[in-house]
């Protein structure tokens, strides 16, 4: 096995001794422990971050330099040629636009419908609430692979859409349109579940007071509870954006018109077993990663903390 992959495995042993010695005067052992710790985390960080930096550096090299000086981290003659080639030689701009529409559309629908449904399950009392909630929870356990083929057929045979008649014959239905990717995931069970957990932590009294004043249920949701759930909406929005932007298998199946490809599917086409042009491939990789990386940098504290909570509950 490689040093890259095994470095994290072999290193955790020294931690238990170093954790408790922090407040005492440093002994030789503590200093040694701290050194080993620093070495270990730096080494792991290099393995997680270095490939990205190397990718960025390669994407900025001119064609001749990529292979000849492949170990050189700083390009001798940095150029944006690989990036411009993406847009002039292929519809990469179109790919980016398609992904943006799909990811942002998914955020909008999941926040709205997930918020509405999560609110109903958390704050409204009605018969069947427990059943609906269990169904949503259970549906998160169903692996996507089982619904893949039938969902394709449902979208393709959807009546009165995309040239189909009432019986779903004659056209391609939603296939090869944004709807094919947006509609099945417009209000995922995760969004409903996530927002329900969030609304449940808010007090009931706010709604009761407004109800006495004669406010409609939608106004109570929209004007009182939704603003209080802003933090939850932000986290859900970021997670949904990442999932939509990064999704691969479903867009690969549902969108195969060259004009409709997402950036992930388009990028996958640049990997060629026999003759890969690394310059454009790695430039495309940077462009495909940039939006989620930027969102992550701004939201990382909330994302990581939310993740930690979901694991312990």
């Amino acid at each position: 096995m490689s040093t890259l992959a095994t470095a994290p495995v072999g290193t955790p042993a020294p931690t238990p001794t170093t954790v408790s010695t922090e407040s005492r005067p440093p002994t030789a052992r503590a200093v040694l422990g701290r050194t080993v710790w620093t070495l270990a985390v730096v080494l792991i960080s290099v393995t997680t971050v270095m490939p990205l930096i190397w990718t960025l550096s390669t994407s900025l090299k001119p064609e001749g330099e990529i292979l000849s000086s492949y170990l050189q981290l700083v390009p001798e003659n940095p150029t944006l040629a690989n990036y411009t080639a993406l847009f002039t030689d292929g519809p990469f701009g179109r790919y980016l636009a398609n992904s943006a529409i799909i990811a942002l559309g998914g955020v909008a629908t999941n926040l709205f419908f997930g918020g509405l449904a999560g609110y109903a399950l958390a704050k409204l009392s009605f018969r069947g609430r427990g059943v609906v909630f269990s169904l949503f929870l259970g549906s998160m356990m169903v692996p996507g692979i089982i619904t893949m083929v039938p969902t394709f057929l449902v979208l393709r045979r959807f009546p009165l859409v995309g040239g189909n008649d009432l019986f779903g014959e004659g056209g391609a239905g939603f296939i090869n349109s944004y709807g094919a990717v947006l509609i099945p995931f417009a209000a995922g069970p995760f969004a409903v579940f996530f927002m329900r957990q969030f609304f449940q932590a808010l007090p009931d009294e706010l709604g009761d007071a407004a109800r006495i004043d004669g406010a409609s249920e939608f106004r109570i949701f929209w004007n009182i509870y939704l603003p209080l759930a802003r933090a939850g909406l932000a986290v859900l929005g970021v997670l949904t954006f990442q999932a939509g932007w990064n999704s691969f298998l479903w867009p690969l199946i549902a969108l195969n018109d060259p004009e409709m490809l997402t950036v992930q599917v388009g990028l996958a086409g640049y990997v060629n077993e026999y003759q890969t042009e690394y310059g454009p491939l790695l430039a495309g990789t940077i462009l495909a990663s940039l939006p989620v990386l930027i969102v992550f940098i701004f939201a990382q504290r909330y994302i990581i903390e939310n993740f930690a909570h979901s694991g312990t509950k």
Binding site: S20, I44, T55, I145, I146, F152, A187, V192, N246
Partner: protein, 295 residues
């Protein structure tokens, strides 16, 4: 119950169902209906074009005799056997390293997490370059230690191992965060007490820390297993199932049958078998790990 209260309640019931209408409709059309359709389709020879017939359990009988299916099972099993333990150990190891409240460790937490953010396709593209036999960083690093690295994705012996390494690299950060959350809940008194009793670092870890985070271990094991059984993106982007079918996974095979050759009836039967396998392993995992949790 007064009239006013029951009127509010009726109002709430109506509102609730309106609020839930879209997610419930989507649940019915894109989950419930497809699951039922999958069962039905798996009993037909539906192939998109032309008529189709009811074939009973023929598809399932065909699976048993399908040599490629068993290749895909073996590959997926190999991936699972390598990926699940490696993913578990690396995420726990890194969580133990970072389990201290200092600004420095928070910075490293972010750095460790970065591969999680990128898509599998972007990660695969990066690794395609890292794993290049001649110009890849990995073989260059191995070369510094005098090791002559293999051709990775071009050798059937190494291709799956390369995909496992990439997947661990790409995914461990998320599980590390779950472990970090769980480690925060390990009672400090218990660790101190064990240490006072003369337990070494390893014994404290084994007898105090590990049992205290067993719920997180169960969750992570479940997530890793489900992900491992459905591995697709990496194999599709990096090797297209090759070389020599050595990275043909079950989901890849289902995709190929269903959407490559349009044998959707057979693909449905295959996906049903995979679904059952996931179910069985999830339950077994719940039994084994769950029992430890009760102790």
């Amino acid at each position: 119950m007064s009239a006013a209260v029951s009127a509010t309640r009726r109002q709430q019931t109506i509102s609730a169902w309106i609020f839930l209408a879209v997610p419930v409709a989507l649940f019915a059309v894109f989950l419930l209906l497809p699951v039922l359709m999958a069962i039905g389709l798996s009993l037909t020879d539906y192939a998109v074009i032309g008529d189709f017939e009811w074939v009973g359990l023929d598809n399932y009988a065909r699976i048993v005799d399908d040599p490629i299916f068993w290749v895909a099972v073996r590959n997926t099993a190999l991936y699972t056997v390598l990926y699940v333990p490696a993913g578990l150990v690396v995420s726990l190891g890194t969580a133990l390293l970072l389990n201290r409240s200092s600004r420095v460790s928070r910075v490293f937490r972010t750095l460790f997490y970065i591969p999680v953010v990128s898509s599998t396709v972007a990660t695969a593209a990066i690794w395609f370059w890292l794993l290049n036999p001649q110009y890849g960083l990995l073989n260059a690093v191995l070369g510094w230690f005098g090791i002559n690295g293999p051709a990775w994705l071009y050798e059937s012996r190494w291709a799956m191992i390369a995909i496992v390494m990439m997947s661990v690299w790409a995914g461990f950060g998320a599980n590390m965060i779950i472990y970090l959350g769980a480690l925060q809940g390990v009672p400090g008194e218990l660790v101190d007490a064990a240490r006072v009793d003369g337990a070494g670092a390893f014994r404290v870890f084994w007898h105090v820390t590990l049992p205290a985070i067993s719920r997180a271990t169960f969750l992570i094991l479940t997530l890793l297993l489900i992900a491992a059984f459905q591995v697709f993106d990496q194999a599709y982007v990096l090797t297209k199932g090759g070389p020599g079918n050595s990275t043909l996974t079950l989901v890849y095979y289902i995709y190929d049958r269903g959407f490559g050759r349009l044998e959707m009836g057979y693909a449905s039967a295959l996906s049903f078998v995979l679904f059952l396998a996931i179910l069985v392993f999830s339950i077994a995992n719940a039994r084994v790990t769950g029992r430890e949790n009760d102790r």
